[in-house]
């Protein structure tokens, strides 16, 4: 009914290879983006922007970056927080040390810093695999924690190790109010989502997936492991680095290395796993699940007017959240993205399932 594809004929390869070959999907996504860009700024409250939507968007971007590495190329990484930190501090140094540096350029250069370090820490992936690689990327995490806490140069000699930025603007337009920040992040997320989606659909993405599915077979059919793995590390750390820059510049405004601790790495890995490995949409689902659910659970007792001890509420949040993670992983080990895909398949057949 809703998903009637009758009459949608593809007459060229080009038409058949679109991102959204089904018209309804395309309209839905375009509508969603339009809704997020036009309607949401008029509807949502300041709290929603600052505490929910902006962090959600930025962490979705970071999860997308990690998904390239873990979901598409099959290289487990526990160093996402590190690459975010490098992006944030790299962008900070460019922004503070070079007067007149445009914000977007600083963020992208921060992403480039993360790319360089990411490739460096990706080199071990050519020799070691699986959990061993996870441990190697964990080294990146501890190294950056150490570097940004100890090397004063990175933090512009701030006595406390905490840095902050002010006066953000793009081409003279200030990025100050929650709505402006939200739209700025939304623009970044949309552009990066489009680029990533196209990248994973193209030959590079197919190389990554071949590497993920069986690296020996991939090498036999002519895919160079060095190139495939390191390019995945590069692309992933670039996106993650830009997300880190946004997290520091736009969301926090002032931050310390603890904002990018190993907890952040785990959080992002959980997002990717729960959202769905190897799916762009999955990154968004995962980020929504991990960011929004605890806030919702935490705010729920107060909203419902149940007087409950703060500590108890916080513990309950942890317990319910943990239980839900287990529940989702049991019900659908392939993540929420797969649930979404299943639902869509059913909708295509509805109301006559077979």
């Amino acid at each position: 009914m809703i998903y009637r594809e009758n009459g949608q004929f593809k007459t060229s390869y080009r038409a058949d290879q679109q991102i959204f070959p089904i018209l309804q999907d395309k309209l839905f996504i375009l509508g969603l983006v339009a809704f997020a860009a036009l309607a949401v700024p008029m509807l949502a409250s300041e709290y929603t922007f600052r505490a929910i939507l902006t962090p959600f968007l930025i962490l979705s971007l970071a999860a997308m970056g990690l998904n390239v590495l873990v979901g598409y190329c099959g290289q487990i990484s526990l160093g996402t927080g590190a690459f975010m930190a490098i992006g944030a501090y790299g962008a900070y140094n460019f922004f503070v040390r070079l007067p007149g540096m445009p914000l977007i350029a600083a963020l992208l250069l921060g992403g480039l810093c993360a790319t360089v370090v990411g490739v460096l820490f990706g080199i071990p992936s050519l020799r070691i695999k699986g959990l061993y690689l996870a441990v190697a990327t964990l080294a990146a995490q501890f190294f950056t924690d150490w570097a940004f806490l100890r090397i004063k140069w990175f933090t512009n000699d701030s006595s406390s190790g905490s840095v902050s930025v002010a006066g953000l603007n793009v081409l003279g337009l200030p990025i100050e109010t929650p709505v402006q920040k939200y739209l700025f992040c939304l623009a970044f997320v949309c552009v990066f989502a489009l680029l990533t989606k196209n990248l994973v659909r193209g030959h590079i993405g197919r190389e990554w997936m071949a590497m993920r599915d069986m690296d020996v077979a991939a090498a036999v059919i002519g895919i160079r492991p060095v190139y495939a793995k390191l390019s995945a590390f590069a692309v992933s750390s670039f996106i993650v680095g830009v997300a880190g820059g946004l997290w520091g510049f736009v969301h926090l405004g002032s931050w310390e290395p603890a904002a990018f601790s190993v907890d952040r790495s785990f959080q992002l890995l959980f997002m990717v796993i729960i959202g769905g490995l190897g799916s762009i949409a999955g990154s968004f689902f995962g980020a929504a699940f991990i960011v929004l659910l605890p806030i919702l659970l935490d705010a729920l007792p107060a909203k419902l007017g149940i007087p409950i001890d703060t500590a108890l509420a916080s513990h309950l949040t942890f317990m319910i959240f943990g239980a839900l993670i287990v529940f989702f992983l049991i019900v659908e080990p392939h993540g929420i993205a797969r649930l979404w895909a299943t639902a869509r398949e059913k909708l295509r057949l509805w109301p006559f399932p077979h």
Binding site: S162, L252, G253, T310
Partner: protein, 443 residues
Amino acid sequence: MNLKQIVLTTAALAAAFSATLSTPAVAADAKEQFFPLLVYRTGPYAPNGTPWANGKQDYIKMINARDGGINGVKITFEECETGYATDKGVECYERLKGKAASLIDPQATGITFALTDKAPGDKIPLVTMGYGLAASQDGGVFKWNFPLMGSYWTAADILIQHLGKKEGGLDKLKGKKIALVYHDSPFGKEPMPLLEERSKTHGFELVKIPVTAPGVEQKSAWLQVRQQRPDYVLLWGWGVMNSTALKEAQATGYPRDKMYGVWWAGAEPDVKDVGDGAKGYNALALNTSGQQPKVIQDILKLVHDKGQGTGPKDEVGSVLYTRGVIIQAMAIEAVRRAQERFGKGKVMTGEQVRWGLENLALDDKKLAALGLTGVIRPVSTSCLDHMGSTWARVQTWDGAKWGFSSDWYQADEAILKPMVKAAADKYAGDKKLTRRTPADCQS
């Protein structure tokens, strides 16, 4: 999971989500002064955060019960759990500020740093008693920050003064080695500029030994202490880090009476578990502890005896509980002071409370009326000085309780003032702010 369940779950989640989204900012009731309370009752800092939070809450309940609020304005509050994490703290701040917040005590230096940029825009004062950003003492630049009664710079300064006195003069510190064992976060790093300045003046060697947050693993730090053999150790810890440090000191055989903690490393939870092992350990004290002060007696009588106490009764009057009481008392006095100017019996906005904080004048008579005689020294703030007093004492743990072991100290203005001014000017330069004009001070 079949489709029906999926749809139902999604619908339920969406409904819950939109319920949160659509809740408008609740305007305060005509006669209610709202205090958002950022607390942490979970995580590695909970042992210290809980009594602090309980003190704040109990004081509010006591004022409501005894005086019926502030000149008839009832006080309301809502807690939000931050877990000492900056991002969670910012979320809590955003959640609670919409309810006409009077002021915010973030209870964490990291959160203070993040909120310092946000507070001026939202017009909510930040009260950071004994913590926060040292430079924010300068009210000329930091209009909305109030590090009442001390910062980490005044704390470090007083500790060095005390060590100098012990040695028989600050000049005797020459050639000594002082180690700073610190929580590796903005909190632990704040005292460094002052200690470096002092070490240059007096010629002692400063050894900085970081402890990774939250500080449950300190073997390597204390190995360094063992190798370096400092004459004194300054402990800049919070939460589980303090008791762990004392246990490690005991294991390494470092004399506890050579250890001096900041006032956040000098409460019962820090030493209780170590017991005799912590005997002789010293720490700064901003306030007394114990159940004798009148304000604590009032809380016991009007709140705990009626069964409305927030925490266990025997923790009432502990060091951090009392500090929570003092912070809340200052906050409420600021509202009272603001009411004197803007109208008695009215609900004060954040801007008006800010004026009250800037014009606090708590002399001995007022402290006596508050029941705080002997608990703290008089505090009087001004437009340029947002601290109001830097008095503190040193206390020593005797294995069972804290006892004062020194006279009152005051931070050395000659050292502190130029440093605060320079740091504030640097901040203003970085943020492209201008100093407040004298006219702005009047408003």
